[in-house]
């Protein structure tokens, strides 16, 4: 690991100033960053510890939504009664990720910015267009059974690893960011970039941007919502496919629905085509299957990951049927 300096400022302005000077990274929980530093994938010369900035809070907004401090530990957010009662899919998504130990360290802001677990990205001895632009992507012909079927490019097929971000995407979360000269709010829908020919660029953020909070707008029907994760062992593994869903029914007709997919794409994948197809339709397993098919029509699977299409279609039918109390 490269040697590094360390600072633990008490004000966000100071933290941003330090990182804006270059060759620096923010340190929050460290569960991903410290590991990537050990692997030689991340090599900052200065770590700016942001755990003294007072970004650890979960509060109710006047409109009934939530504001979550970016430094809130995953376990605290999952245990928040506001989240458990109002947005159960978010608690379930957080608890589906990592382990008890890791969730006690990891923060909400860090979770959004965690890096892909593509094995080529994490191995500094291998080519990887995300880590070393222009070096190539061995995953296309190599180990890709768990990589992207949607939104990928010929340069990169990495998936975004977060469970939490899938629920936040379904909930229309808004990210508050502090940059050197400005503070801005970005909807999560515009936060991530698809890889295209620049897979090294994962967000539209300024290089020194500091996430300070995440807002979740009110969504009464999210009280009946769920997160379903499918993985290769029962616990403590990244998803092969996942979905966050909430549905609002009136007399058996879908009034509104939220659906996001995880582990299928380089970004949390909001299934807007499926949502559109379902609004106004009777809630039925057939309608749920057709909606998933409409979303997944854009899938471009490779040799070993086409199974994800059937996997996530079946999970969508099961989850939406369960929330609607119809028999799949």
């Amino acid at each position: 690991m490269r040697e590094f300096a360390y600072a633990r400022p008490e004000h966000a302005e100071e933290a941003v100033r330090l990182v804006a000077a270059g060759d620096a990274a923010y340190l929050a929980g460290g569960t991903n960053l410290v590991d990537l530093m050990k692997l030689g994938v991340a090599r900052p010369g200065l770590l700016v510890d942001i755990t003294a900035l007072g970004l650890d809070f979960v509060t109710e907004l006047p409109d009934g939504g939530l504001r979550i401090g970016a430094g809130t530990r995953n376990s605290d957010l999952a245990a928040s009664s506001l989240v458990r009662r109002g947005y159960p899919m978010l608690t379930q998504a957080i608890l589906a990720g990592a382990s008890g130990q890791l969730r006690n360290l990891a923060t909400v802001g860090g979770n959004l910015l965690q890096r892909t677990r593509c094995s080529y990205f994490q191995d500094a001895s291998k080519p990887c267009n995300k880590r070393n632009p222009g070096s190539g992507c061995p995953a296309r012909t190599g180990e890709h059974h768990n990589l992207a079927i949607l939104g990928a490019s010929e340069h990169c097929i990495a998936t975004h690893p977060s469970d939490m971000a899938v629920a936040l995407s379904a909930l229309d979360a808004v990210v508050h960011v502090r940059e050197p000269d400005v503070q801005r709010e970005t909807p999560l829908a515009d936060f991530y970039l698809l890889p295209g020919d620049r897979p090294d660029r994962e967000t539209a953020l300024h290089p020194a941007a500091l996430i300070t909070a995440i807002d979740i707008p009110p969504l009464p029907f999210a009280r009946r919502s769920t997160y379903r994760k499918i993985r290769e062992r029962a616990s403590y593994a990244f998803a092969t496919g996942s979905l966050a869903a909430a549905i609002d029914l009136a007399d058996g007709i879908v009034r509104d629905v939220r659906l996001s997919f995880g582990a299928l794409a380089p970004v949390p994948w909001r299934a807007r085509l499926a949502e559109e197809a379902l609004r106004g339709q009777p809630a039925s397993p057939e309608a749920f299957r057709d909606a998933a098919a409409r979303e997944l029509a854009a899938a471009r699977p490779l040799r070993d990951n086409a199974y994800k299409i059937n996997l996530v279609t079946a999970a969508t039918v099961q989850v939406l049927s369960g929330l609607s109390e119809v028999t799949p």
């Binding site: 009662r85 608890l95 382990s99 008890g100 029962a234 403590y236």
Partner: protein, 173 residues
């Protein structure tokens, strides 16, 4: 803590004792315990947060010692397996592991025990888990499925899981 320096003199509070150490910033809590304080009860397994052998309590919460930089633990209380009990005065969780034969080689055991102690505290606080049916319910019924899910961050390559679950169930009574 100068911004340019790559090492610092820090005070770490471990098992109630304050230690003044000069540490390279790259030093993790795990390495500080083992290499600088001779507290070798905490084990290095994967060193990447995947096995749980290095689990210690940081301000009462279980964490992976291999992923926490020692300098970021300044001002916090670190409790290791040595701080939970001694051979003449075992912690109830240690007693339960012995009584239930919840180990074979023993390498993962300190991490399992630290993790289990903090896990029971999480249950007492009503924290749900990925297998809790209704996450809004603040009363947790700690059955085998809950214990297995909540302990999934601690691997045991000998496969002593069955007796580990029994030991934790016993200690939880």
């Amino acid at each position: 803590m100068s911004e340019a320096s790559t090492s610092s003199t820090v005070v770490l509070c471990v098992n109630g004792t304050r230690h003044r150490l000069c540490l390279d910033h790259r030093t993790t809590v795990l390495d500080a315990l083992r290499e600088h304080l001779d507290l070798t009860g905490t084990k290095k397994g994967c060193d990447h947060g995947q096995c749980g052998a290095c689990t210690v309590l940081l301000d009462g919460r279980r964490v992976n010692g291999c992923l926490v930089l020692a300098i970021s633990a300044v001002g916090k209380q670190i409790i290791t397996i040595e701080g939970l009990g001694t051979s003449s005065d075992l912690h109830p969780m240690q007693q339960a592991f012995v009584a239930q034969d919840a180990l074979q080689c023993g390498y993962c055991t300190p991490g399992q025990i630290c993790s289990a102690v903090a896990m029971l505290d999480e249950v007492r606080q009503g924290w749900p888990s990925a297998v809790t049916e209704d996450v809004a319910d603040e009363t947790i019924k700690l059955d085998d499925t809950e214990i297995r899910e909540r302990m999934s961050g601690n691997l045991c390559r000998c496969g002593a899981y069955v007796n580990i679950v029994t030991a934790i169930t016993e200690a939880a009574r």
